[in-house]
Symmetry: C2
Subunit: 267 residues, 2 copies
DNA sequence: GTCCAAAAGTCTGGAATCAGACCATTGAGG
DNA sequence: CCTCAATGGTCTGATTCCAGACTTTTGGAC
């Protein structure tokens, strides 16, 4: 029983929280930081867990064929009870993302591969997301990834770090088409992770996630890959060179291409 | 009954979630994005709500003397039940941050002013935070604020936006000493907010929050203010000029000063 | 002085979530 | 073939959290 990839469907089997309160322009305080009065929680534990696991699949943290950590361990790491985790796993299983097997050497095996895009997917994905959210996501991504590159380029890198960056760059370049996105993600996130800041890494992962569905709707074509390869190389070079501004410029240029493409679908 | 300003104390009256699971280097997947398997929730609803409200006070979203929105409205906006919100409000009341009055024209009035730092506060604050978390917060802030400045400088600004930025700059410069931090925050966050990306604004607010206690422990001295004023002006000028790299450089320089100062307390 | 509206304060039943004990299944190794 | 360890599957009582109805307090308007 496969289903679409929209994040909504997996929770079909257990629709809990009904609506979301509309955010209003409240007359509170002077600064416009009303965002602090946003919902404390994005949903119930079940929903948030489904979302989180789905993210892990989509970013390729746990690739096709591998299995998630054992329930007990995963529940601990996610800070939720095993019961709730199991509900989430079951939802993903029913949606076709996981294959759960019991017994020793059993586990929840990942059955997700990024779908190869069909004509019209991109337009649909962009439309579904909404103009404001798309703009928000693109801006956010631009800011955090540029910032991460700058920070990393400013840092005195250890040989170990330089190797990792180079390895990730090579990873994208050598990737099989089916693995391209995954390796691209790995490269981009490596920049944030090498900065040594978990907060920054999480922010970049979040930013990437918000455009994942869109990127997955873009066919991976030869010219695109080659173009990206040049830009990736420029980014890595600038970072290894310790040139913050060049690094940032390179990242901005790289992301601008994608952003322009996606924005085009809103006009 | 006043208490210290540490974020821990307000929850004294209701200590719930016990410990936090240590993050481990799990052998999951290829990328190191283990961050996705981090806890789904930072604490229980009560704790998170206390934290959120405390943040609103510390960032000056609701300044001294003003009152929070009515319980029902606030509960809706925060996406929690009134019961839970009231528990949080009571905790903050008992900690001396709020003055709750009933009846029409009643409400939860803010009784918080950033404390004037005493000698040793900074060292204590830095030590309490822990080396890794401090480094993380500083790196994160550097990245997102630089990124935000770059994005804004890249944007074609409307007259309205230019005015707002100028107004915030003037706000810091004209601020009374007691209001200085609040206006400084307003200026910094304006950069993120003017980018039009709620995600980016939230990230910058988060970043600022993570160093608020530390900054509050630094006395606001004349030379510091003047130095900051020059840097603030440079930032605003670069943004209004539409020079992304200058904007970023200016922000980096500005933040580097604070970062270096704080890092000094770890050596 | 009386009334009224807006706010905080209180109570109740039910759903969500949890911790932890226990059961069932499975494949590897002896 | 048997045993064992690691894993998913199930159950139970307690706690947290919720929605919503109801009560009390307060100050302004008439």
């Amino acid at each position: 029983m496969r289903m679409e990839i929209t994040p909504a469907e997996a929770s079909v089997s257990r629709p809990r929280t009904p609506a979301e309160p509309a955010s209003r322009d409240a007359a509170v305080g002077i600064t416009g930081v009303v965002s602090l009065l946003r919902p404390v929680r994005a949903g119930n534990a079940f929903e948030e867990t489904v979302e989180r696991l789905l993210q892990a699949l989509k970013l390729g943290v746990v690739p096709h064929g591998e299995k998630l950590p054992p329930e007990r361990e995963l529940a601990t790491r996610l800070g939720i009870s095993r019961v709730t985790l199991r509900e989430a796993i079951r939802a993903l299983q029913e949606a076709g993302y996981l294959d759960v097997r019991r017994g020793r050497y059993g586990g929840a095996f990942v059955v997700y591969r990024p779908p190869s895009p069909r004509k019209g997917d991109l337009r649909r994905a962009v439309t579904r997301m909404g103009e404001d959210d798309l703009e928000d996501a693109l801006t956010f991504r631009m800011a955090v990834e540029c910032g991460a590159a700058r920070v990393l380029a400013t840092t005195e890198l250890t040989p170990r770090q330089r190797e990792t960056l180079a390895a990730r760059l090579a990873g994208v370049n050598d990737a099989a088409p089916a693995d391209y996105r995954r390796m691209d993600i790995a490269f981009h996130l490596a920049i944030a992770e090498l900065s040594g800041s978990p907060l920054l890494a999480a922010a970049c992962a979040d930013a990437r996630l918000r455009v994942t569905d869109l990127l997955n709707a873009i066919p991976v074509l030869r010219p695109n890959i080659e173009h990206a390869a040049v830009q990736h190389a420029a980014i890595a070079a600038a970072i290894l060179d310790g040139d913050p501004e060049a690094a940032e410029r390179a990242v901005a240029e790289h992301l601008e291409g994608t952003a322009a493409l996606l924005r085009g679908f809103l006009a």
